[in-house]
């Protein structure tokens, strides 16, 4: 494993009884960057995150975060010292006030930055004397962010950070994530909100049924992923389009649609050589790629 990877997993697996929650998951994330971790409900996102943070133990495989092994309790402490985590539930101690929770959390981090804490308190307008249980979900997310960011973590892991937030809060959160990534923090977040991921992420990982089905940078995706739609005088032979870079071919009447991760020019060439009457090449949205990647009617190996 290389030391400049912020997160690195090799054949990481987690099994609950007969269920493979995560299966042979291998990926690397270099920092500082923003990585969107996508997948349907139950795809294995939360299990992966919890393995990275040492909350659950891998059944097989290995993983490193910030150069420390995730399955070693002592090294896991070192990981957590430099990693901030905001879970989907934004579960904070309901019985504490905002002020008490800030004091409590800051006591665990010698490198806590009171200047950042004060700046975020002002920015988020968090009521210091109010108990956490009396805060709205948006306010709780802001408090969780304050607790995470006031110690300038090397890695920020968020599980569904925008879940339950109003559009204004979502916008503020996305701007904040972009800002801290620019300051050197690596952001790794799971989400179902593809438009948000597409807006701020540098790269994406898509996981389906515990298996990694796509690991790509968004720049690569924007530059190379194309949808080629070709019309023919008669029903075209689908097999002719099984070319390198073709992810999916769908025929409908006399029209054929090809989703390509590269090699779009060759596909266009092939369509023209088969006497296509029309050929259109369009960029592909992350949403389309995601839906294609998590299609249940195709085995992972065939994608």
């Amino acid at each position: 494993m290389t030391s400049d990877n912020v997160i690195e997993t090799h054949a990481l697996a987690k099994r609950y009884g007969d269920v493979d929650a995560v299966h042979a998951l291998s990926f690397q994330i270099r920092g500082p960057s923003i990585t969107g971790f996508l997948g349907r409900n139950g795809a294995g996102k939360s299990s992966t995150i919890r393995m990275l943070l040492g909350m659950i133990k891998p059944t097989a495989g290995s993983g490193m975060v910030l150069g420390h092994r995730i399955d070693d309790p002592k090294q896991s402490l070192l990981i957590r010292r430099r990693t901030a985590y905001i879970g989907e539930e934004k579960g904070l101690y309901a019985y504490m006030t905002v002020e008490q929770l800030v004091r409590f959390t800051s006591s665990f981090y010698p490198d806590w930055r009171p200047d950042i804490e004060q700046r975020l308190l002002r920015m988020y307008q968090l009521p210091l004397r109010r108990k956490v249980k009396a805060l709205s979900k948006g306010m709780r997310t802001k408090l969780a962010l304050l607790l995470a960011l006031s110690r300038r973590p090397a890695l920020l892991i968020l599980d569904e950070p925008t879940e339950g937030l109003d559009p204004v809060s979502i916008e503020e959160l996305l701007q904040m994530l972009t800002g801290i990534a620019a300051e050197g923090t690596t952001v790794f977040f799971s989400s179902h909100q593809l438009a948000e991921v597409e807006r701020i992420a540098d790269s994406i990982l898509i996981i389906e049924r515990g298996r990694l089905v796509l690991d790509v940078s968004l720049d690569h995706l924007r530059e190379n992923y194309r949808r080629v739609t070709a019309g023919f005088p008669a029903r075209p032979p689908e097999a002719e389009f099984r070319l390198p870079g073709v992810e999916r071919v769908r025929a409908s009447g006399r029209q054929i649609t090809v989703l390509a991760s590269r090699n779009a020019d060759a596909i266009v060439e092939r369509a023209r050589s088969l006497s296509a009457v029309s050929v259109e090449v369009e960029p592909v949205s992350l949403r389309e790629i995601f839906l294609d990647a998590v299609r249940t009617d195709a085995p992972a190996e065939a994608r």
């Binding site: 919890r50 943070l53 040492g54 909350m55 659950i56 133990k57 309790p73 402490l77 070192l78 957590r80 010292r81 990693t83 901030a84 985590y85 879970g87 539930e89 579960g91 904070l92 101690y93 309901a94 019985y95 504490m96 004091r103 409590f104 959390t105 006591s107 665990f108 981090y109 969780a144």
Partner: protein
């Protein structure tokens, strides 16, 4: 600051428990005259207090409250949605368990002091007196006995996901233990019965004629009981290290 977290999580339970125990002690002292007169033969005040408080249902009530104080922990935090936050702190699971146990044991000691405080304050109000040193010695015995049950409760709350399940299983364990040391041949060895160690019944450091503790408290049992409690806490910590949350 972990102590502060544990204290905040248990202080309401402690306050309710202490208040309940105080009320029971108050009721016992206020009704002493009638109860003692109806006893056959009539009881001295010390004998009445021993039978009602230190050997009676107040002791059992104290032990139930101790079980309740032992509940909580990471497994129960999962139900409240805060386990992720706690486990993301740079603190080992062992430390979490040990700090929780330390705070809890201190609370058990505080709870064990309640009868001493109440008896000391209330007895003169009804024209009686109960020696403070006597009451404090019982508090020591209660603390040590309570520690065992507290350790059991901590251990079970690391095994049972539901807080109420841990309490119920702990209560049933206490009943089973009580039956084992009171009904089976084990009853011939009173030192195996921590209820008796707590009350002094059948013990050489207890004078059954005047119902008072006499001589020094038993050193070895008072070392063994907390050692058992610490053993349970260590097992709970080891279990928490292995468990997925």
């Amino acid at each position: 600051m972990l102590c502060y977290k544990m204290w905040r999580e248990t202080r309401t339970r402690l306050l309710i428990s202490a208040t309940a125990l105080a009320w029971v002690c108050l009721a016992i002292v206020l009704t002493q005259k009638g109860n003692r007169a109806h006893a056959d033969p009539p009881l001295s005040y010390a004998a009445y207090i021993w039978k009602a408080v230190y050997k009676g249902y107040v002791r059992d009530f104290f032990l139930i409250l101790v079980i309740v104080l032992g509940g909580g922990g990471i497994l129960q935090e999962r139900a409240h949605g805060t386990a992720g936050f706690t486990l993301s702190l740079p603190v080992s699971r062992c430390r979490l368990t040990f700090v929780r146990a330390a705070v809890g044991l201190a609370e058990v000691a505080l709870l064990a002091l309640m009868p001493a405080v109440m008896l000391g304050a209330l007895s003169p109000q009804v024209g009686e007196s109960y020696q403070l040193t006597q009451a404090l010695r019982f508090s020591v015995l209660w603390t040590m006995g309570g520690a065992v049950l507290f350790g059991t409760s901590v251990l079970l709350s690391g095994i049972c996901a539901e807080e109420y399940s841990a309490w119920i299983v702990c209560f049933l364990s206490m009943m089973f233990y009580s039956a084992a040391v009171n009904i089976t041949p084990l009853q011939r060895i009173p030192w195996l019965n921590f209820f008796k160690i707590m009350s002094g019944a059948e013990m050489p450091y207890f004078n059954s004629a005047d119902h008072l503790l006499v001589g020094p408290l038993p050193g070895l049992p008072l070392l063994i009981l907390p050692a058992i409690a610490v053993g349970f806490v260590i097992i709970a910590a080891r279990l928490s290290q292995r468990r997925d949350y």
